[in-house]
């Protein structure tokens, strides 16, 4: 009897301690990353002023913008295609059931290494040896594509149904026949969907790689913001937004049809042909406009080697400062995610069809999250730096807003997928709206929310590492500076710190996710 009472108290104490720890972490993060309501309030009129300055957007440099847009899309395409080609064998090599031994561990390790480094860091490094231009963007995007796609491919291959494989073996087929007719048909639609997803993602990142001189629209945006020409900057932002939104919609449509197995069937034939036609036309156009400088590429390889040699041995003399900066970076990620969660809960609820019965409200809310999701974090950071000044707070705001784009959507989908029966039951008791949410919706979605939050936390900390590139706080600033100063030994240390933090956070969040869900 008293034993169980003690257990209950112990549980309460544990819960209390966990919550206190959580609050302390959040408060500390706010502190470290300069989250400051006063700055925000003071910055607000300035932000409004800034938005005012942007109108009307000035499209007078439309030719330049058009060319850069094509370049951006081309970078996304070629990054994806190159990455795809290498990921195909790497995926099979890093899948448990089609690989083995040391080869499996090497391939898996390589993929996870490649995906731990943010795209823009690749671009920063590669620009040093390959010179400025879109070819660096393509290389940077392919490297991170390999890391991500080969993981997705491997997961698809590992999840295949073994039964049909045995059945085709039982017909006396040759090994290749088994792969072609029992394995590929199972994984191919998934591969296609992942490729489209990756294309979408790559074009999104391609828009900001120009910030470090790796080609695309980013350079134009950066130049206009730097010269305080907000009307021209607004034009670029609008174009970036339009490109990302269109690609996002096209790719989501195609993905859905492919996964549902409705791709190119009777009812979707015309729609899918049209979408595929658009994709192919863009692909061909981008091939034509792709300004790859082969001479630069050829020179780049020995120079990369020089650069890599210059990194050894890494210089650990500044480690104390760097670790503090890394702490600031992690704090930025935590603060940004926490703010995003706080904002996303109402937004998610308002954009869920089954909670709000007014189409106008949920559609507007959905468009807001779409808009925020389409904005690359670094671009938001660039804008916030102008509004609230240099420093981590600008980064936190950028991370928070773009996370709202994701979380708001995820939350809404989770809420839309809840079991309607308990809601109805609570509604039937004459409960108010808030009571309905509290007693019927929340209990169903909290575990899912937590898993999304952890996913976003992981993503945010990764983003925080590069915010410094535009002066929005964190370790990224020192990374850029060390490169500008040709201090590659320091660069090596910084990259090592970033890499190990990202891997640690990745591990921690997947560990927590298992506990939460």
């Amino acid at each position: 009897m008293s034993g169980s009472l003690i257990a209950i108290y112990a549980r309460r104490v544990k819960v209390f301690l966990l919550w206190s720890l959580f609050i302390i972490i959040i408060l500390l993060s706010f502190r470290v990353s300069n989250v400051d309501i006063k700055t925000l309030v003071e910055g607000f009129p300035y932000a409004v002023f800034l938005i005012g300055e942007m109108f009307p957007p000035d499209f007078s440099r439309w030719e330049k913008i058009l060319l850069l847009s094509i370049e951006t899309i081309a970078m996304g395409f070629w990054g994806t295609i190159l990455g795809m080609i290498i990921s195909f064998p790497l995926g099979f090599l890093s899948a448990k059931n089609t690989s083995g031994g040391i080869l499996y561990y090497i391939s898996k390790g390589l993929a996870s290494f490649l995906r731990s480094i943010p795209e823009i860091v690749y671009a920063l490094v590669l620009v040093i040896s390959f010179g400025f231009g879109a070819h660096v963007g393509v290389l940077a995007l392919s490297l991170s594509t390999i890391g991500l796609l080969s993981k997705f491919y491997a997961e698809a291959i590992e999840s295949i149904d073994k039964n049909p494989v045995e059945a085709i073996q039982a017909t006396g087929s040759h090994g290749l026949g088994v792969i072609r007719h029992a394995v590929l048909p199972q994984v191919f639609p998934l591969f296609m969907a992942y490729n489209l997803y990756q294309l979408d993602r790559n074009i999104r990142y391609a828009t900001v790689l120009g910030l470090v001189g790796a080609g695309g629209l980013g350079v134009e945006l950066f130049t206009q913001m730097r010269s305080f020409d907000y009307q021209q900057a607004a034009a670029v932002i609008i174009v970036i937004f339009a490109i990302i939104t269109i690609i996002d919609r096209v790719s989501a449509r195609l993905r859905k049809d492919i996964i549902d197995g409705k791709f190119m069937n009777k009812e979707n034939k015309y729609k899918d042909s049209l979408l595929m036609l658009i994709v192919s036309v863009i692909a061909i156009l981008s091939l034509y406009f792709m300004p790859v400088d082969f001479k630069q590429m050829a020179y780049g390889i020995p120079r990369t080697w020089e650069f890599l040699k210059g990194m050894f041995p890494p210089d650990f003399s500044g480690i104390a400062v760097y670790l503090k900066l890394m702490l600031e970076t992690v704090a930025m990620g935590i603060s940004g995610t926490f703010l995003a969660v706080a904002i996303s809960i109402p937004i998610g609820m308002l954009s869920a069809r089954n909670v709000i019965h007014a189409p106008l409200v949920y559609n507007i809310m959905k468009e807001i999250t779409n808009f925020l999701r389409a904005m690359p974090e670094l671009m938001l950071a660039l804008i916030f730096v102008v509004a609230v000044g240099l420093g981590p707070f600008a980064g936190v705001l950028a991370i928070a807003l773009s996370s709202v784009g994701f979380l708001g959507k995820f939350y809404a989908e989770a809420i839309e997928n809840v079991d309607p029966k308990p809601i109805e039951a609570v509604e039937a008791t004459g409960a108010r709206f808030t009571q309905r949410i509290l007693h019927a919706v929340f209990p169903q979605v909290i575990p899912l929310f937590n898993s999304y939050n952890l996913f976003l936390l992981d993503k945010s900390i990764r983003e925080a590492t590069v915010m410094g590139i535009v002066g929005a706080g964190g370790i990224g600033f020192n990374l850029v500076m060390s490169m500008r100063a040709f201090d590659y030994q320091e660069t090596a240390t910084l990259i090592l710190i970033i890499l190990s933090t990202i891997m640690l956070v990745d591990w921690l969040s997947s560990y927590l996710r298992k506990k939460v869900v």
């Binding site: 085709i168 017909t171 006396g172 072609r180 007719h181 029992a182 048909p185 197995g261």
Partner: protein
């Protein structure tokens, strides 16, 4: 057609097959019964080489199966069609594509090998596959993706795939255990018809005793890895059933229905 001599197989320290013998003549249809875990699936899979016996031999046609030689194992499999309880189809491919995959073993040399591997089948094979889909009664679903078919339709596709091999022997492991009674009846009729009309030898694992006694002349019962009954169905007495399934004496009649 199939001769099994004293085969033994141990899995994690347990004799799953413990010296089973069996002889199936050409054109025969044999029902294989036995309690769960008695080794029916293991026995069936030893015939097409997915289980390698520890000792004893299996002869299919006039050749002993050589489990060590991959190529000769493949040659044996070409002649044996297999039907599964869970259909084992490629869900994301169409019915027709699934059926055509049944020809992969046959098309194993020269141009045929290359073209079938990359998925280009001769028109003759395509027509053949369509013909078989018609035979099993779902030619209208040929271009439908398998994951949109019902269980009965899926099993028909699987039967057509097995026939596509042009097999001499058909193995079926609980082919109707996952289907409703009416669909079960139809699939079983289809299998019996294949045995009668095409003269394809058939070994069929079943659980429903009435189905066995009503449709098969010969029944083989496995218990603890050895054959405990082998003979004409009408000789299968209550005592045998009691013995096979270890029922209580008084309830044989009731449990006979329950076992169904």
């Amino acid at each position: 057609m199939v001769k099994i001599e004293n085969i033994k197989k141990r899995f994690s320290g347990r004799d799953v097959l413990d010296g089973a013998d069996m002889l199936v003549r050409k054109g025969e249809a044999v029902a294989l019964i036995g309690p769960s875990g008695s080794g029916k699936t293991t026995l069936i899979r030893a015939i097409n080489g997915f289980v390698v016996p520890d000792s004893g031999k299996v002869i299919v046609g006039d050749k002993e199966i050589n489990y060590k030689n991959k190529e000769s194992l493949r040659q044996t499999r070409k002649k044996i069609g297999m039907i599964y309880q869970l259909f084992n189809l490629v869900e994301r491919a169409s019915a027709l594509e699934n059926v055509m995959a049944g020809a992969l073993g046959r098309l194993d040399n020269g141009v045929n090998l290359i073209s079938s591997t990359i998925g280009l089948f001769h028109k003759k094979e395509r027509d053949n596959a369509m013909e078989l889909l018609k035979f099993v009664g779902i030619e209208d679903k040929a271009f439908e993706r398998v994951d949109r078919l019902s269980g009965g339709q899926k099993q028909r596709v699987a039967v057509a795939r097995a026939l596509m091999q042009d097999p001499e022997l058909l193995l079926a492991d609980e082919p109707i255990a996952n289907l409703d009674p009416k669909t079960s009846r139809k699939i079983l009729d289809l299998l019996l018809r294949i045995n009668m009309e095409k003269g394809i030898t058939m070994i069929c694992v079943l659980h429903h005793l009435d189905t066995v006694t009503d449709n098969f002349n010969r029944v083989v019962a496995l218990k603890n890895g050895s054959i405990c009954f082998d003979g004409e169905t009408h000789n299968l007495t209550h005592n045998h059933i009691h013995d096979i399934y270890e029922f209580e004496e008084e309830n044989v009649e009731e449990t006979r229905c329950l076992a169904a």
